[in-house]
């Protein structure tokens, strides 16, 4: 233990801790640009200077690379500190184009924020600013070199986290800029994180160039459905549209990062081919029908025409635990079949592990483990899809309810033949595809961004998924569809929300599943700190002035 005096206040902490982090934890905000808690500290931006009492009086030190020593006396607010901050910010702004009105980072720019609080309103630099053209670094990441303040967060990220080292610092003096080495492009699977890391608008996401400004986006804390890792994300939306996904800090799951597959993998949600009405009939006989008619038709044939032995239910791993619960009960209690299978997405490349341990999971379905566990709780073992396919081929299974929900589907030749073989196929999915065209009844479902429930990640961590946007008009979340099918089959369920189903899962499984529905926060989604725009969101949560506040006050 160590006791330090922080701005006149006694603070208990541990010897050797990072001074800047300790101050932040204590709610003392020391501005900083190059520092990031997951990266090495080069102490290059000089913005986090504070005064520490030494043998020869007060000494200026960079707090980002100062370790706590017992008895340390720290002053973060003195006049000398204020002067140093103002000076550093004036220099950082020197060649920085003040194009904030057209900059993608405006509203969540750390430099903008720091200058607003610690800087000087009027610049004294009267010379021509250095300008540089915009460049593409790779994977849609644009470099506006003139905005770059040389903090090297992105360079260190590629060195220390991704381990791919595509980026470097080029030129010297006032002309330093980030760049890729000749013949290389920024192409690693974590590259999108450099846009979040950039404290200014030097690295931007080309696809976000036409998105609304940051202060018009609403962030919803949720879980990425891109793979079984369960990265904690914030979904930024406006008027029912998703604009971007950014990682939230969860040191136990994804730390500060997310992969590009997850970051950019949501676009199917707004695809033209989204299904908005239930359909019956194949080929030329296909017609749009009402929900009641579709549910009636689907259920009736499944239950009445085919016996329990010849029907199967197949889920995709994109169902929540709550949906899995209904699905299992539908199969066992009402349809009297044990033939529940999981047709999971797996692109065959296996887990991809990066230098700092961040892992992109080979199982691209977000809830494989949860569905297995919920199924097991109800006495059902999830069968491999292969088992069902061969039974269909042998004519033993003749009717199938298949739930998709995970974006684009490409059918393998064999699977297509197998499905064609079926006498009755009911598909719940979100995109018009080869699969839905094989179906006798198509029920439009929703993506993971349009529903609530919990996912269990590959490590068994149960995390609550929040609804980021309302379901597409005409489509329904799987749990509602399953409830309709269940009630059609004679079940008396009447669940009003996934929370109610969650409560039953909690009773059934307890343990890790206890309390998951509690406001969508514990225990799944960690601290809830958001990354992106640096620590700005974190500050908001701590009750500090945040990104939005200053920008919003001008609107």
């Amino acid at each position: 233990m160590a006791t330090i005096t922080l701005d006149g206040r006694q603070v208990e902490t541990r010897e050797g801790e990072n001074l800047l982090l300790v101050a932040l934890e204590q709610g003392v905000y020391i501005p900083h640009l190059c520092f990031h808690p997951a990266l090495s500290a080069p102490a290059g931006c000089r913005l986090c200077l504070v005064e520490v009492k030494g043998a020869a009086g007060w000494e200026m030190v960079t707090s980002c690379d100062t370790r706590i020593v017992d008895g340390m006396v720290v002053n973060t607010e003195g006049e000398r500190v204020a002067q140093a901050r103002a000076a550093v910010l004036e220099f950082a702004l020197l060649n920085h184009p003040l194009d904030c009105p057209v900059c993608d980072k405006a509203g969540e720019c750390e430099l903008q924020e720091h200058v607003h609080v610690h800087g000087c309103a009027v610049g004294r630099f009267d010379e021509k600013k250095l300008t540089q053209p915009k460049k593409v670094l790779g994977k849609g990441v644009l470099l506006h070199a003139e905005r770059c303040i040389g903090c090297t967060r992105c360079v260190r990220f590629c060195d220390e986290i991704a381990g791919t080292s595509e980026l470097g610092i080029f030129a010297r003096g006032a002309r330093v800029e980030v760049g890729v080495f000749p013949g290389v492009e920024l192409g690693n699977d974590l590259a999108g994180n450099v846009v979040d890391l950039c404290p200014v608008g030097a690295l931007t996401d080309g696809e976000l160039a036409v998105a609304p400004p940051a202060w018009k986006l609403k962030g919803i804390d949720s879980i990425c459905p891109g793979c079984s890792a369960g990265c904690n994300v914030r979904v930024d939306v406006q008027r029912g549209r998703i604009f971007r996904l950014r990682p939230r800090v969860n040191l136990d799951v994804n730390r500060y990062w997310m992969c590009d597959d997850g970051r950019y993998g949501w676009r199917y949600v707004h695809a033209e081919r989204r299904l908005g009405t239930p359909r019956c009939g194949r080929g030329t006989a296909e017609r749009s029908v009402s929900w009641d008619e579709a549910i009636g038709a689907a259920s009736q044939r499944l239950v009445q025409q085919f016996g329990p032995e010849s029907i199967a239910v197949i889920c995709s791993g994109f169902q929540t635990n709550e949906e899995g619960f209904l699905l299992a009960r539908l199969a066992t209690d009402l349809w009297r079949t044990q033939q529940l299978a999981l047709w999971s997405r797996n692109d065959g490349r296996g887990d991809v592990k990066f230098t700092d341990g961040f892992t992109l999971r080979g199982d691209r379905s977000p809830n494989t483990r949860g569905l297995r566990e919920v199924g097991a709780g109800l006495g059902l073992e999830l069968l491999p899809s292969e088992f069902i396919w061969s039974k269909i081929e042998r004519g033993e299974i003749r009717a199938v309810l298949l739930l998709g929900g995970g974006g684009e589907v490409e059918l393998e030749e064999r699977v297509r033949r197998v499905l064609e073989h079926l006498e009755w196929l009911v598909v719940v999915d979100i995109l018009d595809s080869e699969l839905t065209r094989l179906a006798d009844v198509v029920l439009p479902g929703v993506s993971a961004f349009e529903k609530e429930g919990s996912f269990t990640n590959v490590d068994g961590r149960v995390q609550w998924v929040r609804r980021a946007i309302p379901p597409l008009a005409g489509a329904l979340p799987d749990w509602q569809i399953l409830q309709k099918l269940g009630e059609e089959g004679g079940g008396e369920w009447h669940y009003k929300s996934p929370l109610e189903i969650n409560a039953e899962i909690e009773q059934l499984l307890g343990g890790r599943y206890a309390g998951t529905g509690d406001g969508g926060r514990e225990p799944g989604s960690g601290s809830g700190q958001a990354y992106g725009g640096g620590w700005a969101d974190w500050l908001q949560r701590c009750g500090f002035f945040g990104v939005g506040d200053h920008t919003k006050s001008s609107h």
Partner: protein, 444 residues
Amino acid sequence: MPECRLLLRDIDIPDIERIEAYLACGGYRAFGKALAAGEPEQVMAEVKAAGLQNRGGEWYPLAERWAPHLAEGVHYLCVDASEGEPGIYRDRKLIERHPHQIVEGIILAAYALRARVVYVYIREEMHRGRVLLERAVAEAGARGFLGGNILGSGFALDIHLHSGAGGYIPREPTALLRSLEGHRAEPRQGDGGLTLFGRPALVENVGTLAYLPHIVDRGAVWFREMGSERYPGTCVFCVSGHVRRPGLYELEIGGGTLRELIQKFAGGVRAGHELKGVIPGGISSPVLRPEELDVRLSPEEWAVPGGGDFPGAFGGGGVIVMDDTTCMVDTALNLARFYARESCGQCPACGAGTHWLQKVLERVEKGEGRREDLELLGSVSGQIAPLLEPSRTTLCSLGEEFAWSLLGLLRSFGEEFERHVVEGRCPIEKDRRIKVPETVSVRF
């Protein structure tokens, strides 16, 4: 006060760059003695007793800096031969003219520190020096002074030469080490920076190590007879600029004054001209006016040279003398260009600050300055660093040094800056041509 040549003692001997001539002058005798004694600690003890201080401009006692490495030894000894400050050319001449003295110094240091590998980080611009030093290393190797099991003692050492990629910043040890590793030459903060390939490394200035053969050969007591109590020995001054005899002058520390160095040794300014200003200790030290030159040539007396209220820095012994054909705004601009170009750009205060000052100075020199520019220059420099008071807005001292030298120029020649603004032109009849000296101090 006569010159007191130690490092320069043999520099004018023909062929001293070859090992035969060096051996004939007693070369490698010190190393032989050290090996015969068989105790690396004895070399350390001698250096400590001699009170040898770094001559690269920092003036720290070598023994103190080396002490933490004594228990374990140090794996890498890195020798800083990347001297690149305007007005300082001592190491270059020592390497080009007297490379074996350097090689012997390096071997002695490596022996004392029990280093396994030596890297000499040499500025590629000193290409001639590199070629000569490489030959000297090869000659020393052929005589058995390098390699495995040196002269049967069991001591093994290799010296590698590494050419820098150009730049002033590797004079910071941490930047030099990064450059040696193949990274950008950027200074690092804290002790973590003083490693090479993950192992502890020691960086020492090449001109400092050149003293070791003399100290080991003739003893600490003899060495202490020269110089002052706190700063024993000699210092090699590089006098350049508008003097009649520029060159290297080796004087006892504290043995004379700056005025004597310029007038007596360097011959004063050219006939028909008047002394205008002197940048006394490397370009980071604030400029002195002609009436401020009566300061003894010893670091301890340079806190306020000339007895005024003017802070000074002894630096690395570079003395730039300017006569009345020099425009001080032009001088400031020249320095600004140097620092703006050489800044690594990590810290905004140095990277952007020097660029800003350069732009303002360009305007003032062209006669397009405004009255508030003078205040701006002072204010911006003060923001980078108040005069000789590290403000820590920069990681290393490069940015601060320019702030100091500009503040010095503004303080001593502020009225000349003002005339530029008021008259709307440069009021000085500048003569920027390279002046061919009448003669030089050592053979070139």
